[in-house]
């Protein structure tokens, strides 16, 4: 009994300290740039997501080519509450503009409100905000995820001669990208009477989860002609499971989205039938340029669309160094 009390007490103590720690971690980190020079704050949803890392690096690279533009990055680690306080911190330190890669796109109205009240220009990048219209001084730079799912599934359907069964690997349920890409895949499959979605499960955009999910489907005896994954990492997991099960290459078509270097290598090997190039550098350039323009009082369109591009065996080489 006494020990139980001790455990409870230490858990309570631990909880209070972790709150304290969390409030420290919420800070955007100091030391980047001198306080006199105005910075553009960049609030990222994740530092360790592969594609977002390309985006983040591309923003830093592009900013370094522009005189008088300094970026300061913050990592929300997927936590929207942490991201909100990071945005407030950027406002408090008089950022010239703020670029947000939203940790949760349903929370964007409160982010817009913080920036608008402080009069700081705001640029959403990659993840589309929940609002249908954006006020002056707030813009979105990104790609339309419905387009990604449509390109992916149309190409898979064409390779299947518009007949057969499809399994869908869904990313994080709360993410807009997963929802819209999945919806597009479902809409395309519904268009063709000879095609049917037989499985649909979540693998959180992760390779290992995709591998486990495909293993489970294969052992459940599901008849799958094509796997449409919301991203490349899950698609690569599916490919690994297919290979390890000894199924001949090409029997099950696999499609992904992102055109990461690993995915392009799979396309070259002929194991990944299709992926969709999301232009990280295009989005990064667009976002930084928009933030700079807004901070100088210039006008920018509310929605800046960067197109997706279909990647197949025929054209993958063109994407190797993009």
């Amino acid at each position: 009994m006494r020990e139980g009390g001790n455990v409870l007490r230490s858990v309570l103590k631990a909880a209070s300290v972790s709150v304290l720690l969390a409030s420290f971690m919420a800070g955007p980190g100091c030391g980047a740039g001198s306080p006199a020079e105005p910075v553009i704050g960049v609030a990222m949803a994740h530092f360790d997501d592969n594609w977002l890392t390309i985006l983040r690096t591309a923003m830093a690279d592009h900013a370094s080519t522009l005189p008088g533009v300094a970026l300061q990055f913050a990592d929300a680690q997927g936590d929207v509450a942490r991201q909100l306080s990071q945005i407030q911190n950027f406002v408090a330190q008089d950022a010239a503009a703020i670029i947000v890669n939203a940790a949760d796109t349903t929370a964007t109205p409160s982010m817009t409100k913080i920036a608008q009240e402080a009069g700081v220009p705001l640029v959403y990048v990659n993840r589309r905000p929940a609002e249908t219209t954006l006020p002056k001084g707030v813009v979105f730079v990104g790609s339309d995820d419905l387009e990604a799912g449509t390109l992916e599934m149309e190409e898979l359907a064409r390779l299947m001669n518009h007949r057969g069964t499809v399994a869908v690997m869904v990313g994080e349920l709360a993410s807009n990208g997963a929802q819209l890409r999945t919806k597009a895949v479902e809409d395309i499959v519904a268009k063709y009477p000879g095609m049917k979605i037989v499985e649909k499960q979540v693998a959180n955009f992760q390779r290992e989860r995709g591998l486990d999910l495909m293993n489970n489907w294969l052992t459940a005896g599901a008849e799958i002609d094509a796997v449409a994954a919301n991203n490349d990492e899950m698609a690569i997991g599916a490919i690994m499971a297919i290979q390890q099960a000894g199924i001949p290459a090409g029997k099950v078509l696999v499609g992904g989205v992102d055109a990461t270097p690993d995915a392009l290598a799979e396309v070259a090997r002929g194991t990944l039938a299709v992926t969709v190039f999301q232009d990280a550098r295009g989005q990064a350039r667009g976002a930084v340029d928009a933030a700079v323009k807004l901070s100088r009082g210039e006008a920018v369109d509310s929605f800046v669309w960067i197109p997706f591009e279909l990647v197949t065996r025929e054209n993958y080489k063109a994407f190797l160094d993009r």
Partner: protein, 310 residues
């Protein structure tokens, strides 16, 4: 509990798929395969919990070890992290991964034993820092193009074999050796253990180092299996590992628990994942049910314990 869940899925399986859930060797393998890395962590955290502690860092240590090991397992090419350290013999990345894990565990153990801060805090700090280090290591870039000899470690049933071997080794160590006797004694009453001549500090450091080593092994297996090292690997594995230990009857106040129980707890987690997929359960509801099952399993276990003692 395990039997109940399996029977439930078996019945649902027949009504949904028209085939048996259980009587399929390949599926039984997959069920354990997908949780075998969590199982390795669970074996480690069980021992830590037995001493009356907790380890929140295991998932992050998986990521850090995976990054370190993967970076030394690359083949020559433009994407090598260390262009001069490619195509190394496979023992080097494996040893580096294990050493990284053991080192993290050793730091945990020393923090707890020497500064006497609660294990919750020490390992919370390690959880945050190890994840940060994993990201810092390559600035978030994934490490791929790993050699085939390395990825072979994670292929097929090998993660399961590792899990079973680790379970067997620590089952024996805990039950039949001084290592186990000390572990249980410290968890039951650290003061009494000290008085009866057990070097508590040294033993705690050893137990946390063992847990770290198992996380390091988990990191090696994960990166080999995915043929890639990524800083986001092992995310929230520590909670699944603790859940597996607790479902398996390990008491969070220390001193009570068994590796065999933890193995069953781990398998329950795997059975649930496979079962949900098998019957095509709505993805939005799976986690809700999983949480309920975890709590329910512990409630039933406690209830049965009380019956026995009464």
């Amino acid at each position: 509990m395990l039997v109940g869940i399996v029977v439930l899925f078996e019945l649902l399986g027949w009504s949904v798929r028209g085939t048996s859930f259980l009587f399929n060797g390949q599926r039984l393998l997959v069920m354990v395969l997908q949780v075998s890395i969590i199982g390795l962590l669970a074996i480690g955290v069980t021992q830590v919990i037995l001493t009356g502690g907790i380890d929140l860092s295991s998932g992050s240590v998986v990521a850090l070890s995976a990054m370190v090991a993967a970076s030394l397992a690359q083949t020559a090419g433009p994407r090598a992290v260390f262009p001069s350290l490619v195509d190394l013999p496979v023992v080097i990345p494996v040893a580096a991964g294990l050493a990284t894990g053991a080192l993290a565990g050793w730091v945990n153990g020393n923090l707890i034993a020497l500064t006497r801060i609660p294990p919750f805090i020490a390992t919370l700090g390690m959880m945050v820092s190890a994840r940060g280090l994993a990201r810092y290591y390559t600035r978030g870039q994934p490490v791929s193009m790993l050699s085939e000899t390395y990825t072979r470690i994670g292929e097929g049933a090998l993660p399961v074999v590792m899990f079973v071997i680790a379970a067997a080794v620590f089952h024996v160590l805990l039950r039949y050796t001084r290592y186990g006797k000390y572990t249980y004694a410290i968890g039951a009453n650290a003061q009494a253990a000290r008085i009866s001549g057990i070097h508590v500090t040294r033993h705690l450091v050893l137990v946390y180092t063992v847990a770290g080593l198992l996380s390091g092994l988990g990191g090696v297996m994960t990166s080999a299996r995915a043929a890639s090292g990524q800083a986001g690997m092992g995310m929230s594995y520590e909670l699944d590992a603790i859940a597996a230990a607790v479902i398996g009857g390990t008491s969070l106040s220390g001193g009570i628990g068994r590796i065999t129980g933890t193995v069953i707890g781990t398998v329950i987690l795997g059975v649930m994942t496979s079962g949900f997929t098998f019957i095509g359960f709505d993805a939005y509801i799976q986690d809700i049910v999983k949480g309920v099952v975890i709590v329910l399993a512990v409630v039933i276990d406690r209830y049965r314990h009380r019956e026995v003692h009464a």
